[in-house]
Symmetry: none
Subunit: 198 residues, 4 copies
DNA sequence: TATGAATGAGGCTTCATTCAT
DNA sequence: CATGAATGAAGCCTCATTCAT
């Protein structure tokens, strides 16, 4: 039997994060009040501070948790022995479908990702790093497999790929999600692979 | 001699915007105080409100002015009879060199571009529209010139290109500008053109 | 023991109103700062806003509470089966003695009663209505009892009576309360009854 | 020929007062901005301060001028050899018709008359004094003429009369002037005279 | 005299955080 | 652990008044 106590704690922790995701997505970080998150989570204002250091810590934790589980999902679906071009397709597919499934996460990711505070920035970079790294790994593998060009600058190219996908998601959000995001996968991947192939 | 009155007004208006750019770049919109902008501009707090409706209006005006002059610069350098591939190169070159020259503008663009407030968002989208449109125009021209693929989705592709460049700039900023941004032009354009060419 | 929670809340609510009464009486609504009321009430500035929507709401609530309890007092002392002329005497007596007892209330009533803001005005009219109505009821009863003239315009006359008493109080306040207000009851009522009697 | 200079000055002085009357009547003293008065008067903000010490001085001057001319009008129409009861009728008639003719003055008189500041209060009392005194004079004369009761307390009764009329005007204003004010003269005077007659 | 741009003190209100229960 | 009332610092904005032109 797992500890009922720690489990209870974990549950409330997640309830608060879920509430925060909703509130941040709706109003943005600076226009979200801790009290609103508390109400949404069904706890008292003070309770928040038993689980998080401060308001910013909520956002950071949120990114860590959410991006962590996203990255895990990528790793589950992209394997070392996959062909690199298939891996790139898989990555783009996951990127678009996962954010299409979880609009709140998409909003927070796109709208709050580039906020201000020093601490925030480095934390978010840290949380994103494994994903960017995954893309780089695939690029390296593709070169080794002879599928991608040898002269690729993998550090630069991973940014081009991530940024391009990121912008497609942002634009889709700003448009009010008036079209299918996942329907953009094929054309996007096509553009990438032409840029990558040997 | 030309009207000293309107000129004086224009000068102060620009002094405030210049101060705002500096303060916003350093602290982000929500962590910037109007009083700090006033001090930086060498005017009284109240003076700000003779030139701007409120704090948000400063940011919006800043975008309008800065992006407006950027877009003008693009139009000066990219001509209708240019080869589309050369135009793409020119765009990327300007994008990187202009932001490398004006780090504060880069910071505000990257950090504040995706802020929250409804009004803000639509204003910024409006300000960016002509640039995104310019990219699209070049793509269309490229297809007409037989240089780019006929099956390009220009609406999607303009986002891929803009997003990729945008991410390179962001990453460069986050890195603390430890390398040359304009040195990335060649490899970036190479990647683009492979994705675009017929 | 009864609920200490709601009781506590009520206590603080009344402490703030009491403080507001004092401050408003001394400086007038527009020259009173919320911070001064808070200090007088022994609470933090922010606490005020846990009990009142804004500064104006304090004044409105003050009127509602104070005039409400005044009106209640009138109803306790003036009964349906009283002779109408005795009822008029009672009303004037209470009007003068109650305001003589509570100078701060008198000041706020006289000085702030006719302030500007739309909302304020209608709220105050609403709070005063039952009192003016009480006077009218007594006039109607007097006519029915055959004590007062049948040709009285009760809507007009209630204003004459209220206005006359009101002015006596104002003048007494402005004079610096250099004479007894309640000592004016007999002569005032005498004047009224001559005007009313059949 | 009168001095064109002083005349010009007088004209602008009155233009500002007229503008102030309009603005104060519409928004109340505390919600009226000096700049709004200036705009209404067609002068620059700074010009106001060439004619008035400060904002409060505008209100005080306004009262002095307006009440002064009102009082003059009363003196023109009420003569020493009139019967006192006719004089009372004349006073009430003028009170109602003059304020009915000049709604702005009525509003300022009723709404701003009892505002806060120390200086203001005493100034207004001073400006009102001659009018209240006029009523008292008539009362005294009425007693001498054997028309009014010998036992009248003239100091008190002048307040009752003024207050009653004042309230009728206020109520008429608050009602949105939905009925004729001057139509109330007969019944009002009837009430007064019953209270006064020997 | 007249202007009106500039000033800057000051007030209302919000909200992250604390702490007594 | 949980609560939520209370705190009080801080910021945006207004507007009476001044002064250089």
């Amino acid at each position: 039997m797992t500890s009922g106590l720690a489990e209870k704690r974990r549950e409330k922790y997640e309830a608060i994060l879920k509430a925060a995701l909703k509130v941040f997505a709706e109003h943005g970080f600076f226009n979200s009040q801790v009290s609103k998150i508390a109400r949404e989570a069904g706890v008292a204002d003070g309770t928040i501070y038993l689980y998080f250091k401060n308001k910013e810590d909520i956002l950071i934790s949120l990114f860590r948790e959410k991006l962590g589980s996203l990255v895990r999902k990528f790793h589950e679906h992209v394997h070392e022995d996959d062909r690199a071009d298939e891996a790139i397709r898989k990555i783009c597919e996951l990127h678009f479908t996962e954010l299409e499934k979880d609009v709140q996460l998409a909003k927070v990711t796109q709208l709050e990702l580039r906020q201000s505070s020093r601490e925030l920035h480095s934390e978010i970079s840290k949380a994103l790093k494994p994903y960017i790294q995954l893309i780089e790994d695939v690029l390296v593998r593709g070169i080794e497999q002879g599928i991608f060009r040898r002269d690729l600058d993998v550090k630069l190219t991973r940014l081009l790929i991530f940024g391009a996908m990121d912008e497609v998601v942002s634009s889709w959000l700003i448009s009010g999600r008036r079209y299918s995001l996942s329907a953009q996968v094929d054309k996007t991947v096509d553009f990438f692979l032409r840029g990558l192939r040997a």
